[in-house]
């Protein structure tokens, strides 16, 4: 065989070239490395052929053919620079352009054929192995370039995606999954905090390795990524991690506020080992953390805006309820001057006033103030309004009416609230006034003479005690006498120094305008309260109802 492969000058004969070329053509549909070992096997009639190719990480068995029952073949170390017969295997370096690209291990041929095979296969296959190896390197380089492109695209996509993502859990998944996949980490954790330090969101993939309860106290430097490639034995930023070998961690912050922590661990290698995290990984994680911080802040602001909008809607609803309930105009009653004002605050409360024309020319009037604010208070006012209008003709007395309203509230009101309630009935002709004041502020009775009397409460507020009873009182209103009912929003209006308008100022204001028509007086009193408050925000509705017997 040897003589037929080489000519007298020791080069391959034309016949040998042809045979080899034919063999290569026969296996043309096989991958390059398989083709080489198949050709070598058939051409040398060996028992087994194995091909080692130089990869980035070292020599790797790329293909084998023949009988493998003898167990795996190992490339000798150090690798031979020329043909070597060792342990029943001939090792042939496959080289081109002076560089060894692969080794063929040929088992089961005579050691004396090593040189001959080396010349014939080594020179022909060297170029093929080189081409294969370089194509692999090109592929790897291409893969690297594509991976970098993927990182850039991911950063861009993440920015786009997060800018429209307002659900914290989806946002956290998006950031965590991309961080893990692009650093080739085996596991990762993203923990987000509320402003008060409570955990807002916790996402894990690949198993927990951060003691989440302690993450808030973690000494992570702001704006820097902590790379700990010895995390299994060395604490990371002062905290011992669980079941990970290497880790990469970064704080998620906005404007110096710590919003959370993003960490990945155990960078995978193709052979199943754990690689060190690189500076490129750290840079990438830092960019993800920055984007996450901005997105989380946006989501938080959005949540606050929605909450604000919800409150605004609720207040509008409460205001609408209140507007529907308060009388649009007061009845015109001979012998009586009536005027009322209601100034709702931004936080709509539960003030209610009403004037009702009753039988036999009598006039019923009331002022009520519900505890609490917003829709619940407005709904309770609505309940009281309905109860008053339903029961007023049925009740045998004012005390009976108040008792009925109290029971109605206990039975039907959706919320456990109470209200102060003044209800009076005036006979305009005689000036006889009967009333019940259920825990309401003392009314002001300004006599024509100028003297002022306090009209005190005659019982507890409605809805407060189960077996409450109210005394009905009466008084005489003579012509020129004026009764002023109000809610505590008037007397408790505050100025810049947080001083209240108070009973005395209200009495003065009533007294000062006692000669004026009650409509003007009502406006003047409300004007004085507004002047006193000087634009300071007020927290309670202000209601004023004036009656003067003429």
């Amino acid at each position: 065989m040897t003589a037929s492969r080489l000519d007298s000058a020791g080069s391959l004969t034309a016949e040998t070239w042809k045979t080899l070329a034919d063999s290569l053509r026969r296996y043309a549909d096989r991958p390059v490395v398989e083709r080489l070992v198949e050709v070598a096997l058939s051409w040398t009639a060996a028992r087994r052929v194995v091909l080692f190719v130089k990869e980035r990480e070292g020599w790797v068995a790329a293909a084998a053919a023949g009988d493998a029952s003898g167990g795996p073949l190992s490339l000798p170390e150090p690798v031979p620079e020329r043909s070597l017969a060792s342990g029943g295997v001939i090792w042939l370096p496959l080289s081109s352009e002076g560089e060894i690209h692969g080794f063929l291990g040929i088992e089961g041929v005579a050691p004396g054929e090593a040189d001959d095979l080396g010349i014939s296969l080594g020179s022909l296959f060297g170029a093929q192995a080189g081409a294969y190896r370089f194509s692999r390197l090109v592929k790897e380089a291409e893969f690297e370039v594509k991976t970098r492109l993927l990182e850039l695209e991911s950063l861009y996509d993440l920015g786009l995606s997060l800018s429209g993502q307002l659900e914290i859990s989806s946002l956290a998944d998006e950031v965590l999954f991309r961080s893990i996949s692009l650093t080739d980490a085996g596991k990762g954790t993203l923990v987000l905090f509320h402003e008060d330090g409570r955990i807002l969101s916790e996402r894990n993939l690949g198993g927990e390795f951060l003691p989440v309860a302690q993450v808030r106290e973690w000494k992570l430097p702001e704006g820097e990524v902590v790379v700990n490639n010895a995390a299994a034995s060395v604490p990371t930023a002062g905290m011992k991690l669980l079941s990970c070998e290497k880790c990469l961690a970064v704080a998620i912050s906005v404007g110096g506020r710590r919003l959370g922590v993003l960490a990945v661990a155990d960078k995978e290698s193709r052979d199943g080992g754990v690689l060190d995290f690189t500076n490129a990984d750290a840079r990438l994680l830092s960019l993800f953390a920055n984007q996450a911080g901005a997105a989380i802040e946006t989501a938080r602001l959005h949540r606050e805006a929605i909450e604000k909008e919800r409150i605004e809607r609720e207040l509008e609803l409460a205001a609408a309820i209140q507007r529907e309930i308060l009388p649009r105009a007061l009845p015109v009653v001979p012998g009586l001057e009536l005027a009322a004002a209601n100034l709702p605050t931004r936080q709509v409360g539960g003030d209610y006033y009403d004037v009702l024309s009753l039988s036999q020319g009598r006039v019923g009037f009331l002022v009520a103030d519900v505890s609490g604010k917003g829709v619940p208070a407005a709904l309770l006012v609505s309940t009281v309004h309905a109860a008053v209008h339903l029961q007023v003709d049925e009740a045998s007395s004012i005390a009976d009416l108040v008792g009925r309203i109290d029971r109605h509230l206990r039975r039907y009101a959706a919320t456990r609230k109470f209200l102060t309630f003044f209800f009076g009935v005036l006979e305009p002709e005689s000036g006889k006034l009967r009333y019940v004041s259920a825990g309401h502020n003392p009314a002001i009775l300004l006599r024509r003479s100028g003297s002022i009397e306090r009209v005190e409460s005659t019982g507890v507020p409605l809805g407060l005690l189960p077996d409450a009873a109210w005394r009905e009182q009466s008084l005489q209103l003579d012509p020129g006498d004026l009764l002023a009912l109000y809610t505590d929003g008037v007397t408790e209006a505050v100025d810049e120094a947080d001083e209240e308008f108070g009973w005395s100022r209200l009495c003065e204001a009533v007294e000062e305008g006692r000669e004026r028509p009650v409509r003007e007086l009502c406006d003047a009193i409300m004007g004085k309260v507004a002047d006193f408050a000087a634009g300071m925000p007020q927290y309670d509705d202000q209601t004023l109802l004036l009656l003067r017997r003429t």
Binding site: D29, L150, F177, S181, L182, D184, E268, S269
Partner: protein
């Protein structure tokens, strides 16, 4: 999503359908490759990989899928992916997997595409 990637395989004629559930990383990729080679060795001509329950793939998982693709192409077979998340879809396109393996929105479309002509 579970920690380890789970693979389910069903053979329909000469088509093998793979359902993945979890992270396609080194472990997940190796498991896919092992089962893919087993299917190819037992005569499967086409592989359809349904990644509906996979939301994350890393570069090692992708390189293993490329090796599977090369093996399928060596054997003149076909490989199709379906039900990819937008992120994985884009990743496959950037990394070159979509150059030789087709991507379909649904499993039905993928199966129709790899079915023998006629």
């Amino acid at each position: 999503m579970s920690e380890a990637c789970k693979i389910a395989v069903e053979r329909r004629g000469d088509v093998a359908i793979f359902w993945t559930d979890g992270y396609i990383n080194n472990q997940g990729g190796e498991e896919i490759a092992r089962q893919a080679y087993s299917q190819l060795d037992s005569g499967a001509r086409a592989l359809v990989m349904n990644l509906e329950k996979t939301r994350i793939v890393n570069s090692i998982g992708i390189s293993i899928l490329i090796e599977v693709l090369e093996k399928v192409m060596d054997r003149k077979g076909a490989l199709a992916f379906c039900n990819l998340t937008p992120t994985i879809d884009k990743t496959f396109r950037i990394m070159g997997l979509a150059q030789y393996a087709a991507i379909y929105p649904t499993q039905e479309e993928a199966l129709r595409a790899v079915a023998p002509a006629g």
